[in-house]
Symmetry: C2
Subunit: 276 residues, 2 copies
Amino acid sequence: MEQLESHACFGGTQSVWRHRSTTLDCEMNFAVYTPALAAGERLPVIWWLSGLTCSEQNFITKAGAQRYAAEHRVILVAPDTSPRGAGVADDPAYDLGQGAGFYINATEAPWAAHYRMYDYITEELPALVAAHFPVSDRASIMGHSMGGHGALTIALKNPGRYKAVSAFAPIVAPTQVPWGEKVFSAYLGADRKTWAEWDATALLEQAEERLAILIDQGAADSFLENQLKPEIFAEAAKRLGHPLTLRLQPGHDHSYYFIASFIGDHIAHHATALNA
Amino acid sequence: MEQLESHACFGGTQSVWRHRSTTLDCEMNFAVYTPALAAGERLPVIWWLSGLTCSEQNFITKAGAQRYAAEHRVILVAPDTSPRGAGVADDPAYDLGQGAGFYINATEAPWAAHYRMYDYITEELPALVAAHFPVSDRASIMGHSMGGHGALTIALKNPGRYKAVSAFAPIVAPTQVPWGEKVFSAYLGADRKTWAEWDATALLEQAEERLAILIDQGAADSFLENQLKPEIFAEAAKRLGHPLTLRLQPGHDHSYYFIASFIGDHIAHHATALNA
């Protein structure tokens, strides 16, 4: 594991690391924010999953989350969004291939060889983080857009593992919207029955755990109507009696200006659960 | 004047604009953050001047300043750092030409035709901002690195005009360090006597006004020893009895992680003076 960056930030350290991922069979970057620690102290970790086109950089440079992580004494881990590199399958479109891993395990060629972001985020990277950073055994997960889809599906597929889950403008029903239909066709193939295990709304139907979900959605988000459709998820949550707080934020778009405006609320929400 | 971006952010609006500058004879971008306003309300403005290689984007995407501007009810204006465009003189180096305007008026060819950032920041852009945004007549100024030099020199050259001034890792004595010697030779020519009017330490010697200055400097800043040398300015301030708070921040580098960590303190400092 190689350290690429280290910056003092709000009394702690924002660092960026590179390692060889055996799951993804490529070099991967990830970012970690650690507040100032007492000797031997370990802190809960919040996982942040970014959206389409993003790397580990977007969240750490634009969200302003470090202030709140320092205040609430939580560690933040921000992985990259897909396998990377010359030997990794790609596509010229922004919404397929590198930068668009969708936090699933691909089964179809040419993607299956490297695109196993679900296993990477739930197994390999947590083990690496636990081995090298002062994290406790308490974790939660959040994300934006494609990463909101990642956070919701990963939390729903792993009951008991995450103490909180939240999302900004998540893709909540990928099997029903163009972004999801495109990438699931490519990564998972034409048989739609296999798609359901990667769809937050479908997973909610079988949820064993009643983990309260917080979602913020910008009302002026240009992807709201065709790609995000939070009402699909909200209807299912209501019907199932699953606790969901969905806040439609007037005037807000899909950008990091939206995330920055509410990341403090999300980190407070997670910290309450992590420190409960 | 054309609006390039508009984002809801912390209850207000982060916008980016393009206009034709007559002073610089080119198209220029600038960014404005406006908190939520009551009808007819006008707010003080803090000018932010960025460092080498930056545009109007760096500060608004990375500093996390909007939260504090909303809290203290001040408007933030972040201009670009130099004239831009195909017809504007440039240099392949990062520290000369486009992205390196240094907030001075150039006198030498080929720079004099466009490089008049001092006039732009002190005359043309304030008039444009006053005409189009709900700013009061109270203003202050701050900046980073080259922009810290800009903020200090502009405040010192215009007594009474700015209610507060502060800087992050400023170039305080450009006539005595490589960055300044290089650009002043190019923009102002070989006669060093003409350089002094653009050097904060030299200007402090003649300061009519005792405006309190706040400077934060990262102790781990790789430019500290050769380019920034805050001790030169601190020695002059001490000798002259000029009020200066110079804080050396342990572990901090030259990045926006440093700025983000302390921008709240700076905006609070400015707001106190602006609302006095």
